[in-house]
């Protein structure tokens, strides 16, 4: 899903922190990527986009996502063209986390299966810099109960539900 739904929340958080090292986990079509990239470009930030573009198990319940599988990576690349502060890590999320220590902002939006979200939170929680911010998508959405369940076990978690079912969730790693 696109962060455009959360821009009024995430935008001020990013502007306040001005993170230079940002990671988007689950870039998929690049909708959020370009928003992140354009925002953090204001202060010279770099966005690492992580995806293997092979989809995730929850696609079985979301045929519209599965239908994008064959063209998603090409769509992403077309969208980020010209966004020169984007660097792509084409690999599985938890593997990428082991290579990206010290990230100041991490946006988790990969597989929405509970086990996968838990694995992402564990792996990227380690990669998050002290004082850094980790946020995620689709919290509280009844279509993705695993997202909510996994985030609910993160100490100090905050969330904001919107008018629909979706919601933004975030946690700050203490200094």
């Amino acid at each position: 899903m696109s962060w455009t739904r959360y821009g009024h929340l995430l935008g001020p958080m990013l502007l306040e922190r001005r993170p230079r090292y940002c990671v988007e986990v689950g870039a998929w079509l690049g909708n959020s990527s370009i928003m992140f990239a354009e925002t953090i470009a204001q202060w010279g930030g770099t966005l690492i986009c992580v995806d293997h573009w092979q989809g995730s198990p929850d696609f079985a319940r979301h045929p519209f996502m599965a239908a994008q599988l064959s063209t998603a990576e090409a769509t992403f690349r077309a969208r980020i063209r010209g966004h020169e502060n984007v660097v792509v890590l084409k690999m599985a999320s938890v593997d990428a986390a082991q290579r990206c220590a010290g990230a100041e902002f991490i946006y988790i939006d990969a597989s929405h299966e509970e086990a996968d979200v838990r694995a992402d939170l564990a792996a990227w929680g380690v990669a998050l810099a002290a004082g850094g911010l980790m946020a995620g998508d689709d919290y509280g959405d009844s279509e993705f109960p695993g997202v909510t369940a996994a985030w609910d076990d993160v100490p100090g978690v905050h969330y904001s539900k919107g008018k629909g079912q979706w919601g933004l969730v975030w946690v700050e790693r203490k200094l």
Partner: protein
């Protein structure tokens, strides 16, 4: 190198100061030919160590996106430079042609398989800016090159824009445009 150690462990030991050997790269003036020949906008410094060169590029070339890469997590962590990616130089997690310039300064001589690095650099980048020691390998260094041997090594990978010897620095510097 202690044969009981992995290569990563060896370099982490050096970077954490537990060895008498010292990593290079704390002064970057000697890399002026690299700084002057960067192709942008995306640059990666492979085997970046403490990322001093990355920091200087960021200071002097705010128009470029710079990523530091090294397999020694201690070095990357201590560098304070962001973003960095932990990776082996011969198997990087980036898609093809992800970077305009691949930089590698004073590191290829330590690699077990320099041609494997060059193949990987060609996969992820369009240009290579390389420096190596000129002459006999120093202690702990596997390889050194003369202008002729470096030319022979690089030529199959692309078109050499320049290959210069800097005798005062005992260093060779080359810029290569990769070809398929």
């Amino acid at each position: 190198m202690n044969e009981q150690m992995s290569t990563v462990e060896y370099w982490n030991t050096i970077y954490t100061g537990r060895s008498t050997a010292q990593p290079g790269g704390h002064e970057t003036d000697r890399f002026a030919p690299v700084l002057a020949n960067l192709e942008g906008p995306r640059v990666i410094d492979v085997a970046a160590g403490y990322a001093d060169l990355c920091k200087r590029i960021r200071r002097e070339r705010s128009d470029l996106t710079v990523v530091a890469a090294d397999f020694a997590d201690e070095a990357m962590h201590r560098s304070g430079f962001k973003p960095y990616v932990l990776t082996d130089a011969t198997a990087m997690p980036f898609p093809d042609r992800a970077f305009d310039t691949v930089i590698c300064t004073q590191a290829m001589g330590y690699m077990a398989d320099p041609p494997a690095f060059l193949r990987e650099a060609r996969r992820v980048g369009w240009w290579l800016l390389l420096t190596v020691s000129d002459g006999e390998p120093a202690a702990g260094v596997r390889w050194a090159w003369t202008p002729d041997t470096l030319h022979a090594l690089l030529e199959p990978f692309g078109e050499l824009e320049f290959l210069s010897a800097l005798p005062d620095l005992a260093m060779l510097v080359a810029k290569l445009r990769f070809t398929a």
